[in-house]
């Protein structure tokens, strides 16, 4: 095609100046910067012709922040207050991927990673012939505009990521984590064009529920964070894990392979989804960028693909996510080249323009590469599953992406330019410690009312009304369900799922997220959420040395150096603590521009990092739940308590943020977790709960309530070195590295022997009386409350609120 004067409908850019190039990009929602538009212009000058509309759309999509992660690969000049400025050679490369390389090297022959960062999901080994793939995505902007559809297609998209991993992993559980503004936000304080947080919550939960339940994938783990900064821009994280035979992990198309599309038809929905995620939300953002989901079609695609995989028909497979066919085919064939015939794509309606067909983000579509002789067999499978499959084109060895429509070439791009031509961004980041007032301990004497307030707060209260709407039992593998205890209402630290029923072993899943710590210092926020996720796994019996983690950054505008500085701080912590805990990142995702434009300026979300963690348990036999199991058992507090109330629930209920954010001390907490894991393996632990939001007081209340068994604790038994005198500080501090553990009388000696030399205090025991009683440092009662009252405060409906 080189030398041809025009291709498709030309877009005249060859003669435009900088300003006109930028305007052209804005007018078309391409989200391409000045430098990027100039690079495009230069490329087409060498091609000797103007680009076609389709080519511009393909470039905009491929180079979008969503697909290319330009911020994470940009060169950053970082200046931290009081330090020399440093040059960061890409956050992803220098921190995230580097941490994984270091950890894997240290693990040597014990390395359980199978595929990291390369495929559509991260993959670790399950047993000798089976692997687990795990991916977490965000779908924030669509969920802000259309909560039900946005959240549903969020989960639909991440399911396809797992289906598109290796030659197709069978989805086995979902996770979901949301960040909203408080549900009781006053209506008259809503910015224009913003949906009320309660409406967003109900829409998002319904969307996740209807998609996940219909797909028959259990939603086993989740969480919600509330903060008013999410008013205009809620966050919706959706995760999916799948299992895949190890022998089906290897993928790769070759020249001559047939490119097939499997699944739903192509329409105009979700155009510009990839590029729109890099633009600010405002009151006139078009809702046509949101896709429309149909879980039953995706279910049919899943069944057809897994069968095709098992019959050995697939050479390569990937999902149609952001950017549709353009992204899927452009990625799959980038080392080879491809030719595509758009008229072969089944359409929902016609006419559609060529670029609309190629870029559409219509849901439930997968692209696979197969040997042409396998097409008939694939077609037969698809006929039984009642799903459409068509041949779209071919893998070539031209190293170009050539697109035809009705006998005309409408696009002809060099793969090298498409994938490597984007100019690397140079950015500036600054970070300085925030000067925030300390959170004083104001509560004295009896702090029962503070505990009840904490339990009733949006960030702590029961999530049962939401969890029950998700089918968390389907596939029959729920070993530890999200709600545990005698009345199945206690909040478990991690869920445990047997992904394959006829194999030994199970997968534990937990996560860490905190939207308040990051407003003080993103470094300790990131460290804390990494540790929280690992602690969750250890609480249920997971081995702290067998953990794999996923990072999902949601940030505001990275063009603002102070927000990018926050990101650098968080990424540094990700590196430091992943290495310190020996927990490799296997997959991750980032979402920027999470801000909402109002007349009085942008509302930006707080720096938010979700860490999802999983580990493979060798057997389901030795899992432990957090509900108290019996009376007259000992209660131990493991770990050291410091006065760390910054970003705590205690600070929040006083309307403050505070400054003493919890630190992370792996040198203390990792040895403790290792020994705790041994104690659980030896069946010495009856129940175990990790201390996180709300600290010791909330953890004790939750354990007692979940078991419907009372507890009597004495703070005078806190470890010797603790010089904290204020009961409230001991009870509500959110120091990391702590667990509350129930041990039966008969195991006391064994347990204490195992724990010798580690911070472990016998704090009290479980009692007949259905109440929680805590004696303070002075010997006075600090907390005394009936379990019924705990239940009343804690059980607050998020659904009908």
């Amino acid at each position: 095609m080189n030398g041809a004067k025009t291709v498709g409908t030309p877009v005249e850019i060859l003669e435009l100046g900088d300003k006109d190039l930028v305007r052209l990009s804005q007018d078309h929602l391409w989200a391409l910067s000045r430098d990027e538009m100039i690079a495009v212009q230069e490329y087409f000058r060498t091609e000797g012709r103007p680009p076609s509309r389709l080519e511009m759309e393909v470039i905009a999509q491929t180079w979008s922040e969503h697909c290319k992660h330009k911020v994470f690969s940009s060169m950053i000049e970082y200046q931290e207050q009081g330090k020399d400025s440093e040059l960061i050679d890409g956050i992803f490369h220098q921190y995230i991927a580097q941490a994984t390389r270091t950890v894997r090297q240290a693990k040597g022959s014990d390395d359980y990673c199978v595929s990291v960062f390369l495929d559509n999901a991260g993959v670790i080994s399950y047993d000798k012939d089976c692997c687990v793939a795990f991916k977490v995505e965000t779908h924030n902007h669509p969920s802000a505009l259309e909560p039900y559809g946005g959240a549903g297609t969020g989960i639909g998209g991440v399911i396809r990521d797992v289906l598109g991993t290796g030659l197709g992993a069978r989805p086995c559980f979902n996770t979901d984590i949301f960040c909203f503004a408080p549900p009781d936000w006053p209506y008259d304080k809503l910015p224009e064009g913003v949906l009320h947080p309660r409406r967003i919550l109900r829409g998002v939960v319904s969307g996740v529920r209807d998609y996940g339940n219909r797909m028959g994938i259990p939603t086993v783990s989740g969480g919600i964070q509330f903060d008013e900064k999410f008013l205009g821009n809620p966050l919706v994280y959706c995760g999916t894990a799948g299992v895949i035979p190890t022998k089906r992990m290897k993928k790769g198309c070759r020249a001559g392979d047939m490119l097939v599309a499997i699944g739903g038809r192509t329409g105009r929905d979700g155009l510009h989804g990839a590029t729109f995620s890099s633009l600010d939300l405002h009151k006139d953002t078009p809702t046509s960028t949101v896709q429309i989901g149909n879980p039953i079609v995706e279910k049919k695609v899943t069944e057809a693909l897994v069968r095709a995989r098992d019959e050995g028909l697939l050479r390569d497979v990937t999902d149609c996510g952001a950017g549709g066919f353009s992204s899927a085919i452009g990625e799959m064939a980038k080392e080879h080249g491809a030719v595509v015939f758009l008229e072969k794509a089944p359409l929902k309606y016609s006419p559609l323009e060529d670029w609309e067909i190629f870029l559409s983000e219509s849901q439930e579509r997968m692209v696979a590469a197969i040997a042409p002789e396998h097409f008939n067999q694939l077609k037969k499978i698809c006929q039984i599953e009642e799903v459409e499959v068509v041949s779209l084109g071919q893998v070539t060895n031209s190293h170009r992406l050539v697109v035809w429509h009705d006998g005309q070439v409408v696009g002809d791009l060099a793969m090298s330019f498409l994938h490597k031509g984007v100019p690397r961004q140079k950015r500036k980041a600054i970070w300085q410690p925030k000067q925030l007032p300390q959170c004083e301990v104001v509560s004295e004497g009896n702090v029962t009312s503070v505990l009840l307030q904490a339990l009733h707060s949006w960030n702590v209260c029961s999530r049962e009304t939401i969890i029950r709407q998700y089918d968390h039992e389907v596939r029959g593998g729920a070993v530890l369900k999200p709600l545990v205890g005698t009345c199945a209402d206690g909040p478990g630290d991690a869920s445990v799922v047997k992904a394959v029923l006829d194999k030994p072993g199970a997968i534990a899943i937990a996560h860490g997220i905190n939207v308040r710590y990051g407003q003080i210092d993103p470094y300790w926020m990131a460290g804390s959420v990494i540790e929280e996720a690992i602690r969750g796994l250890v609480s249920v019996g997971g081995n702290p040395d067998r953990v794999a983690i996923l990072d999902n950054f949601c940030w505001g505008n990275p063009d603002r150096p102070e927000l990018l500085g926050d990101l650098v701080r968080a990424a540094k912590a990700c590196h430091d603590f992943a290495v310190a805990f020996g927990a490799p990142f296997i997959s991750g995702k980032d979402s920027f521009y999470n801000q909402y434009q109002t007349d009085s300026g942008p509302i930006s979300i707080p720096p938010t990092l979700l860490i999802s963690a999983m580990t493979v348990l060798p057997s389901e036999e030795c899992v432990v739940s957090m509900d108290i199991k019996g009376t007259k058992n000992h209660i131990y507090l493991l770990g050291n308590t410091r006065v760390e109330l910054g970003g705590s629930i205690y600070a929040e209920i006083q309307g403050r943020l505070g400054c003493d954010v919890p630190k992370v001390l792996p040198e203390e907490s990792l040895p403790l977790m290792r020994v705790l894991h041994r104690a659980i393996e030896q069946n010495l632990v009856r129940s175990c709960h990790d201390l996180s939001e709300g600290g010791l007081a909330v953890a004790a209340a939750e354990m007692a309530l979940a078991g419907r068994i009372g507890m009597s604790l004495d703070l005078r038994s806190m470890p010797e070195h603790s010089s904290i005198e204020q009961d409230a500080a001991l009870l509500f501090s959110e120091s990391n590295g702590r667990f509350l553990v129930e041990v039966s009388h008969s195991q006391q000696q064994k347990f204490e022997r195992l724990m010798s030399g580690l911070p472990c205090a016998l704090l009290g025991e479980t009692v007949e009386d259905a109440s929680l009683k805590v004696v303070g440092r002075t010997g006075e009662v600090a907390i005394e409350v009936a379990l019924d009252d705990i239940e009343r405060s804690w059980k607050r409906s998020l659904w009908t609120s």
């Binding site: 028959g216 879980p295 389907v474 029959g476 199945a488 029923l501």
Partner: protein, 270 residues
């Protein structure tokens, strides 16, 4: 010898359609119960690729067949009734057991196969409608068996058994009081929702507001059973929500007996 054993193999058809999603664990439960499960897509029956007659036992598992468009189970019910009616009739008349779980129960009811299998008429006498809570709920319930019921699946179950539900439309309603009276008087109620002590109670003991706390219904022969709860999700002890509290020696789950009874019946009639 090998041939004899092969002959004794119980083949259980697990019927699939677009949106069926409990086929995996249902097949697993059948395997534990001693049968060989075969996933049979309704399309394979319609196209004659597989024949219902080749199986000893039919299970219509849970899910959202065809997305529950037009009502839960309605579209698959119409296919089973109008397109597969003859095959179904032959299967049932041969005395082979049929179990519908959750969406499968909705299919059996909406096809008019329950509370009585009357070929030709297929009139729908009852329905499963939206839960009183007006939302999908996943929770564990206790099911009290009816000792007087002719149901072959519940034989030997004497105490309330814990089994989870997961549905949005599981409330049993009857066409009129007379039908309900007949169902109750003829002991077609196979399971009722109760508390752990075996007593009836309001929500959440009865999780959906079902008439007469009905969780499952059989036909007068006892060989067709439909139930909203999922016995296939309680075939191991570790599936029970309290299992970490008890750690008793019983490794099996209470739902397994239902599948074993069905397989035993098939073996007896071989």
């Amino acid at each position: 010898m090998a041939r004899v054993r092969q002959k004794k193999e119980i083949r259980a058809a697990v019927l699939r359609a677009a949106g069926t999603n409990c086929d995996y664990e249902t097949g697993y439960a059948l395997t534990l119960a001693g049968a060989r499960p075969v996933l049979v897509h309704v399309r394979e029956l319609l196209d004659g690729i597989k024949k219902l007659n080749d199986y000893h036992l039919l299970i219509i598992p849970g899910g959202f067949s065809y997305g529950d468009d037009l009502g839960a189970g309605k579209l698959l019910a119409n296919e089973v009734r109008y397109l597969l009616g003859e095959e179904m009739t032959r299967f049932v008349k041969a005395g082979k057991p049929v179990l519908g779980i959750c969406n499968g129960f909705q299919v059996l009811v909406k096809a008019g196969f329950l509370p009585e299998f009357q070929p030709g008429e297929w009139s729908q006498e009852m329905s499963l409608v939206a839960n009183d809570s007006a939302r999908f709920e996943c929770r564990w319930t206790f099911l009290k068996p009816n000792p007087k019921s002719p149901c072959v699946f519940t034989q030997g179950i004497t105490e309330p058994i814990p089994v989870p539900i997961a549905h949005g439309e599981g409330k049993v309603v009857f066409r009129d009081a007379l039908i309900q009276e007949q169902v109750v008087n003829n002991n077609l109620v196979a399971f009722q929702y109760v508390d752990s002590e075996g007593n009836a109670g309001p929500y959440p003991v009865n999780p959906n507001g079902s008439a007469w706390d009905i969780a499952g219904i059989c036909d007068p022969t006892g060989r067709i059973l439909g139930m909203m709860p999922h016995p296939e999700r309680h075939v191991h002890q570790w599936q029970h929500p309290w299992w970490t509290r008890r750690r008793h020696n019983e490794a099996r789950g209470a739902g397994l007996r239902i599948f074993e009874n069905a397989v035993q019946l098939c073996k007896d009639s071989l």
